[in-house]
Assembly symmetry: D2
Homo-oligomer: 107 residues x 4
């Protein structure tokens, strides 16, 4: 797409998909009690990423503010996921930290 912020929008949606998948996968783990923070953050991160992408695509005056907040949550979610060895958590951490970086650059 030739949208302004196209790379950041894509990173937000990649992050949302990784978080949704990670949350669902964490819930299938033998001990979901270990994954509480991960799941809770995934749920918030996914919905905020989707909102950030909408605001950017619409060229909203508040896109920067939403991206700033998005960067904070993505960073927290990425750090939390990084602590777990599972593939879904590591991939989610990658997606979150990439999104955090692009949102921070954008904001």
């Amino acid at each position: 797409m030739s949208l302004q912020y196209a790379e950041c929008i894509e990173a937000c949606y990649d992050c949302a998909a990784a978080c949704d998948y990670c949350a669902a996968s964490c819930l299938k783990e033998e001990d979901p009690g270990m994954m509480r923070d991960c799941i809770r953050l995934d749920m918030q991160c996914a919905n905020l990423c989707r909102l950030a992408a909408q605001f950017m695509a619409m060229g909203s005056t508040w896109a920067k503010s939403v991206c700033q907040l998005c960067a904070e949550i993505c960073e927290e979610c990425g750090k939390t996921c990084r602590q777990h060895p599972m593939d879904h958590c590591q991939k989610c951490a990658d997606a979150c930290l990439r999104c955090a970086k692009l949102c921070r650059d954008m904001a």
Copy 2:
């Protein structure tokens, strides 16, 4: 991403971004009255595409039902956008019709 349905998830998010951008662009046109249906459908299509992507990424039992509905709205939105010569409408039509096809295959 190695997610199941990865291609369809990506198509949904591409479509959401194209719809958000198209809605915002239609509102800037000289005569938004011409674009009413376009804007109204863009708003619904974008949010439904985001939901469909979430349900697929989570491996939801209802992913197919949501995608079926998503395919219908995408098709209507794509046909409506196709009637306008503006670049944002033509690109939105492309994204909608691609998403409609993939959602239909998936459902």
Copy 3:
């Protein structure tokens, strides 16, 4: 509000809030492994309820189809929550089953 479908819109939003709260509370329980299905359904139900409310408030052609789907998920989520004695689950079950009924009537 004098919106058409006002009662069903309100039930959808009540249900979304009850599901969000229930998911977050389930994650704090001593054994979240017992609550897997509950959390997974809460996450889907909350977002679908929000979409259904949007479609109704906009007077969308697809409001009935979205409400039909919403009724199905609410019912499943309500039944699942009903099996757990915690207050957040019982209240969520009440909200889900009320929303399921109103969505079904509407669709």
Copy 4:
């Protein structure tokens, strides 16, 4: 509901419904060109209100930050709607300004 922030959550959802209805109604007006800003803000305000409500219901660490941002957009949307005499705009302005106040108190 006995949720913490229950009043603010309800105000957010009332505001989202009023914005969705206002956007759809503006698009039906004889001259939607007059209503551009209104529609554009309604679209952003509705989705941000829904996110704020989710974050509050989940007891998120970021609920205050999201509500702060929500208050800003609600205020802008409320002021813009207030300028139009139509009933849907006046009711939307009421809902936006009430939500802005409660979100500001909460944040």
